[in-house]
Subunit: 370 residues, 2 copies
């Protein structure tokens, strides 16, 4: 298997995503070859640091960079103002300059916070992403969304800020807990659902090999997901329209995460539940057939994703929707499916359909038919 590179085309903010095995040992040389020099601050967490920090540090120092590590506590509950301030305090106490390169080594939480710190430290410094989870590799490291959570909702504070380089090392997925790998597969399946029916069929056929981390299909998964996301981000960097399609399953998913305090479900698990709800709503509106809806829930279930929506009050759901970033003129907007591979953004949903959906999914522990 050879390594591959994908260019995310954003004019002066374009950047490469490298895919391959063992890339964290060459990331320093790669950065040097791209013209980067000087100080780096490697931001990681207590789980990833013992696994990969030394290798990344050796790679960077071997290429002439100085390395200052910042190790954060692990978990979405720490994706907040306090942790962000902790990063700034460290950077300033150690006299990091505007030429400092922030390197995010870890999953989506580390990447989002490091990216936001890079966007706002001294009004912007360069950063490099080394995502070590499937979710971060296919989703959060592509597209420049950075940010932190607010007690009232996820990712409500942040910036659009592009990395200079993303390094996706397949090897890091070997140490990823199975639950997290499965959660990442929710976003993988999402790309098929919103944009690419052929890819959805590929996933149905190759699911076992992908779950076994077989390099060739895994590389194809990463490359396809990043290509789809890169294409959408290129067309709509600041989420005025098309990009909102990437939020399929997320309006419901974010509500579930927010209402359960962010610590009960992994992001991908909440998104999987959200995709079931969004698919069900699409079916109720007559846009998806029963067979398509079953194919979606079947693939999610085979992947090992939890599909039982937690019991939550309907008005709590509706309250959470009203805080969603996609709200316009007070009306929540939803990404729904007009078939597998065809997503649309709409606010035009009969209130009764939404109410029926919510009462159906908030009244039972398990999804209808699952």
């Amino acid at each position: 298997m050879t390594n591959e590179t994908l260019l995310v085309d954003l004019g002066p903010r374009s950047y490469p995503i490298d895919f391959g095995t063992g890339l964290i040992d060459s990331v320093g040389q790669r950065m040097k070859a791209m013209g980067m020099r000087g100080q780096t601050a490697v931001v990681t967490n207590t789980i990833v640091a013992p696994l990969y920090l030394d290798r990344v540090r050796r790679s960077l120092e071997g290429a002439g960079f100085t390395v200052f590590p910042i190790v954060l506590p692990d978990g979405e509950v720490h994706k907040n103002f306090a942790t962000l301030q902790h990063i700034f305090d460290h950077l300033l106490q150690h006299r990091m300059e505007r030429s400092t390169i922030l390197v995010a080594l870890g999953g989506g939480v580390v990447g989002d916070m490091t990216g936001f710190a890079a966007a706002t430290f001294l009004r912007g410094v360069d950063f490099v992403q080394i995502p070590t989870t499937l979710l971060a590799q296919v989703d959060s490291s592509v597209g420049g969304k950075t940010g932190i959570n607010h007690p009232l909702g996820k990712n409500l504070i942040g910036a659009f800020y592009q990395p200079k380089l993303v390094t996706c090392d397949l090897e890091t997925l070997k140490t990823l807990p199975q639950r997290e790998f499965i959660a990442g597969m929710a976003e993988v399946i999402k790309y098929g659902l919103i944009r690419d029916a052929v890819f959805f069929a590929f996933l149905e056929k190759n699911l076992d090999d992908i779950n076994a981390l077989t390099p060739a299909p895994l590389l194809q998964v990463l490359h396809t997901c990043c290509a789809i996301k890169g294409e959408i981000v290129t067309a709509d960097e600041h989420e005025s329209g098309l990009r909102a399609l990437l939020n399929f399953g997320h309006t419901f998913g974010h509500a579930i995460e927010s209402l359960t305090g962010y610590d009960q479900w992994l992001h991908g698990e909440a998104v999987a539940m959200g995709m079931v709800m969004a698919s069900d709503l699409s079916r109720r509106l007559g846009w998806l057939t029963g067979a398509e809806y079953s194919a979606i829930t079947d693939l999610l279930r085979r992947t090992g994703l939890p599909l039982g929506i937690p019991k939550l009050a309907i008005d709590a759901f509706q309250d959470a929707f009203s805080r969603d970033k996609k709200v316009r003129g007070g009306r929540p907007r939803f990404v729904l499916l007009k078939g597998i591979g065809q997503a649309i953004l709409t606010a035009d949903i009969p209130e009764q359909s939404l109410a029926d959906l919510l009462s159906s999914h908030t009244a039972t522990e398990r999804v209808q038919g699952v």
Copy 2:
């Protein structure tokens, strides 16, 4: 006197600056004519709110906008994370959406924080600046620098983010305390010193009329300063080179502010002291004549600016320099003058000259010759 408009040319991020009298009563119509609609959050402070909030609110509501006011405590000491979070809390508790327009009504502190909140709320919403101080009108409302202070230094956290419109109403300067008007004049004089000897001579000649708020010369002052700044920002939006010249007097000035806790000197006053130090260093290096140096200190003194540098330890100064955003490779860089109207950025300063300068200015209460 007619109103005037200056366009800051930044491609897709271009925006107009309107200058004139009574503009806060028409800002709503102006925004509507530019295509803006919907919700606004007007961020102001306890000093400005009683003076202008009602007029701005009437203007906005008259043009069909809804208005949600956020009134902050006054002062540079509140330009911090806690106040920023307070803004976010208010916006989210009142369900502000991504289409919300933030309106900054006040001086530089309100403008910088509101701009940073706009840059990072829901990853970016539109904002409009209504600067009500001379300093904000000629400086902080032009160029897209937004941010907050950190205990270790000023403006260390922030973003480059452009407003959609800047409305400079000369009328608001009538309620500005004299000390603040004079402090703003330090930045006005700075523009002459770094870029425009003719403007410096205009200031020498018209200082009394400007201080008396005579509309015609005051309008010329505002327009010239914003034109110089706009031209520099257009050439260098993200401060890679040319833009650093705008920091003339600021490396020393920021150190003075930082070392005195931000509450003793107004920003413009600290910049005036910093310009004296930077001019003196330029003279010591043989780049300014004694006559030029005297012309600079004369104009600053006639304006009413305090020129006595506070007694501060030399090593505290040097420590503060090392945290400056212009530091590269550990060496502080200074903006110096090669004549009135000609600034350059240099790190190439003999250590002895800097040491002599600091010991001269930190050992006495008053500047040599003043």
